[in-house]
């Protein structure tokens, strides 16, 4: 035996105190406390702020049907599109929303493969964010085509003249990428929910006998039925967990190349064209980094208020926020590097049109969008070099707000400034959105927030079984897990 060979005089010192990491769930709570706390969000009375927030979200989401009905019944002329700017806010919003989704998959899949245990506190809400963001994103390409009754031409079915879709176009690749992304995200999210839905089923079952009021009894019955049906008869069997964990690992392994491919394919929509400012090979990695950057900012924008309103700060601790701030700093710097490199290649590549496109971005008549982008995406995250900035929730929230704006501006810069002044001055123009553009975009915020608030109210917004699994109490080889030696 190897460890018998070590003489007893050799003492193995424990790691120094400064290298010890704070626990992921603060204050060494029992594993039962975790389900009580997370399920408490669903079981408690609906908070007043929630009612206010959902009313506001529903009101804002009205912009979506109003904007879309007006658009469809009239034509794309109601948007600010013109010649030469034929892609405007719709495409900007599409890329922005789909980019936000990427952080959810990064947290749920890539950080899982990298064994980052802190992800368990935030992965459920981030995955929900992904699904709702992709739903918002999907609206825009579907309606920007003008005659939306021909949207079915995107699907692999022959049209009235027996012609199939043309698979050499990145726009069609995008259809497959985005719909696959949405479907796989839903599958992954649902699979993660199964054990937690079983927790909810059992909790409602345990209290069923104590409920006397008829309305409450009906609610309890309905909750037992719905959580029970969707938890598929989960009993926490280890034979099941064994297959479940393998399937989870495989889904994480599949989602990782998927998330990288989705924003790469979105970037092909631009990069495969021959327009200066779009036709660059740097686009796929630059888009993916930007997506993660913007998505993490949105995760924090949602999680920071949610955690304090639901008092979940022992599960989503300052350490979680600090780690996410570091991710924002890194990806923000990658994005900054990409901006600089694009400029350098525009100069070094010797193509006058390319150089003009970039000079025009920074100093032309739409330079405001460029400098908003630089300030929000490259400069703002630099605050996260300082520990105070990374550990102060209100400050993180503020910076993340700027990042959200900056990432929208980045897509605006890419889409609009590349189009508005292209090869010959006869083709130069300007672009301004109309009120229809605006209410449609703000409508998607309302739609997104409505879905997210419903999710928080009715589904466990923290992955209960996963958080339990990363505590020392869950480790059979740890004294807190019952180990005797």
């Amino acid at each position: 035996m190897a460890h018998d060979a070590v003489p007893s005089s050799v003492k193995i010192a424990p790691p120094p105190v400064e290298l010890e990491r704070p626990a992921l769930v603060a204050n060494n709570h029992s594993i039962g406390w975790i389900s009580d706390t997370v399920a408490g969000v669903i079981e408690d009375k609906t908070p007043g702020w929630w009612k206010l927030a959902i009313s506001l979200s529903l009101l804002v989401s009205l912009g979506l049907p109003i904007g879309l009905i007006y658009l469809i019944s009239t034509g794309v002329g109601v948007w600010g599109l013109n010649h030469p700017v034929a892609w405007g806010w719709a495409i900007v919003n599409f890329v922005w929303w789909i980019g936000i989704g990427h952080a959810g998959t990064l947290i749920s899949a890539i950080l899982f493969l990298l064994r980052q245990k802190w992800r368990t506190s935030i992965n459920r809400a981030s995955e929900a964010m992904t699904i709702f963001a992709v739903m918002c994103a999907g609206i825009f390409p579907a309606v920007h085509v003008g005659r939306i009754w021909f949207d079915w031409w995107l699907f692999p079915v022959p049209n009235a003249n027996s012609i199939w879709p043309q698979f050499r176009s990145p726009l069609l690749w995008d259809v497959f990428a985005v719909s696959t992304y949405f479907t796989v995200s839903v599958l992954f999210w649902y699979m993660g929910l199964i054990p937690d839905l079983a927790t909810m089923r059992d909790r409602f079952r345990k209290v069923a006998g104590k409920v006397t009021e008829p309305a409450a009894r009906l609610r309890n019955k309905l909750a037992q039925f719905l959580y029970g049906a969707f938890s598929l008869g989960w009993t926490g069997s280890n034979r099941h967990w064994s297959n479940y964990e393998k399937a989870y690992l495989l889904l994480a392994g599949l989602s990782t190349p998927l998330v990288l491919s989705v924003h790469s394919i979105v970037s092909f929509d631009f990069a495969v064209s021959q327009l200066p400012g779009w036709h660059t090979t740097i686009f796929p990695p630059y888009f993916v980094a930007g997506a993660v950057f913007g998505g993490f900012a949105m995760v924090m924008t949602l999680m920071i208020p949610l955690v304090s309103l639901y008092r979940l700060n022992e599960i989503v601790t300052i350490r979680h926020l600090e780690v996410m701030s570091k991710v924002i700093l890194v990806t923000g710097s990658i994005v900054g590097y990409a901006y600089a490199m694009e400029f350098f290649i525009a100069y070094y590549g010797g193509n006058p049109y390319e150089l003009y496109a970039f000079k025009n971005r920074a100093f032309g008549d739409m330079n405001w969008s460029y400098w908003w982008m630089i300030s929000c995406n490259v400069l703002a995250p630099q605050f996260f070099w300082f520990k105070w900035c990374r550990t102060t929730p209100w400050f993180i929230w503020l910076i993340c707000g700027f990042v959200n704006i900056g990432m929208w501006m980045e897509r605006f810069v890419i889409v609009v400034t590349s189009l508005h002044n292209d090869f010959i001055p006869g083709n130069w123009g300007y672009y301004s959105p109309t009120w229809v553009d605006m209410i449609t975009y703000f409508g998607t915020f309302g739609f997104f927030m409505t879905l997210f608030l419903l999710f928080c109210r009715f589904l466990p917004l923290i992955a209960i079984s996963e958080v339990k699994g990363v505590t020392p109490q869950a480790d059979p080889h740890h004294p807190l897990g019952g180990a005797k030696h």
């Binding site: 698979f167 599958l187 927790t199 034979r239 967990w241 005797k484």
Partner: protein, 182 residues
């Protein structure tokens, strides 16, 4: 034979534990006794439990692999059929079918069907959905998704004997042992 309870068929013996270490040591003992129809139920996957139970590596990967493979070749075949065979669309003198232009879509199809294969394969191997289970009627077992750990030995295990098995479970340190009926 007066009460209905006398006609009930036993499902198995259920032993409750408070800690993951406790249930894992119990599982090792049950495994060493040579039981085959038994299980451990936990609120979260306990690290090392597969070994403690003597389980083999999960077979889900095969479902993922074959579904993914079908997705890839299905995608390629679909594009070839649509753009080269059924209704060729010549664009700019390029070949009607090329694996390079078809790759992104076939790649997405690989992931899509691989993901369905993983989830449905997992459900098939676990024989889920199962909307009724003898254990789910037991109120004490409801804590399995909360903070308790259980070892359940089924009555139709060839080595099962109510008295002997109960003794074995007692020896493993369980504080609560209960007979669960079908």
């Amino acid at each position: 034979m007066d009460s209905l309870d006398d006609y009930q068929i036993p499902y198995g013996l259920m032993a409750e534990f408070d800690t993951p270490a406790g249930v894992m040591h119990a599982a090792e003992k049950v495994r060493d006794e040579g039981f085959t129809r038994w299980d451990v139920h936990t609120p979260f996957p306990v690290h090392g439990m597969d070994d403690a139970m003597g389980l083999k590596n999960s077979q889900v990967g095969w479902f993922t692999f074959f579904c993914g493979l079908c997705g890839f070749f299905g995608g390629m075949l679909m594009i070839w059929y649509m753009n080269a065979y059924d209704y060729g669309i010549p664009v700019g003198g390029k070949p009607n079918f090329s694996p390079f232009a078809s790759f992104p879509v076939a790649y997405e199809m690989t992931i899509l069907s691989g993901a369905f294969g993983s989830l449905l394969g997992m459900l098939y191997l676990n024989r889920l959905p199962r909307l009724h289970h003898p254990l789910l009627k037991n109120m004490r077992f409801a804590d399995v998704t909360h903070d308790k750990f259980f070892v359940v030995i089924e009555a139709d295990d060839p080595k099962y004997d109510e008295e002997e098995t109960r003794k074995l479970l007692k020896k493993t340190g369980s504080k609560h042992i209960e007979l669960v009926n079908e």
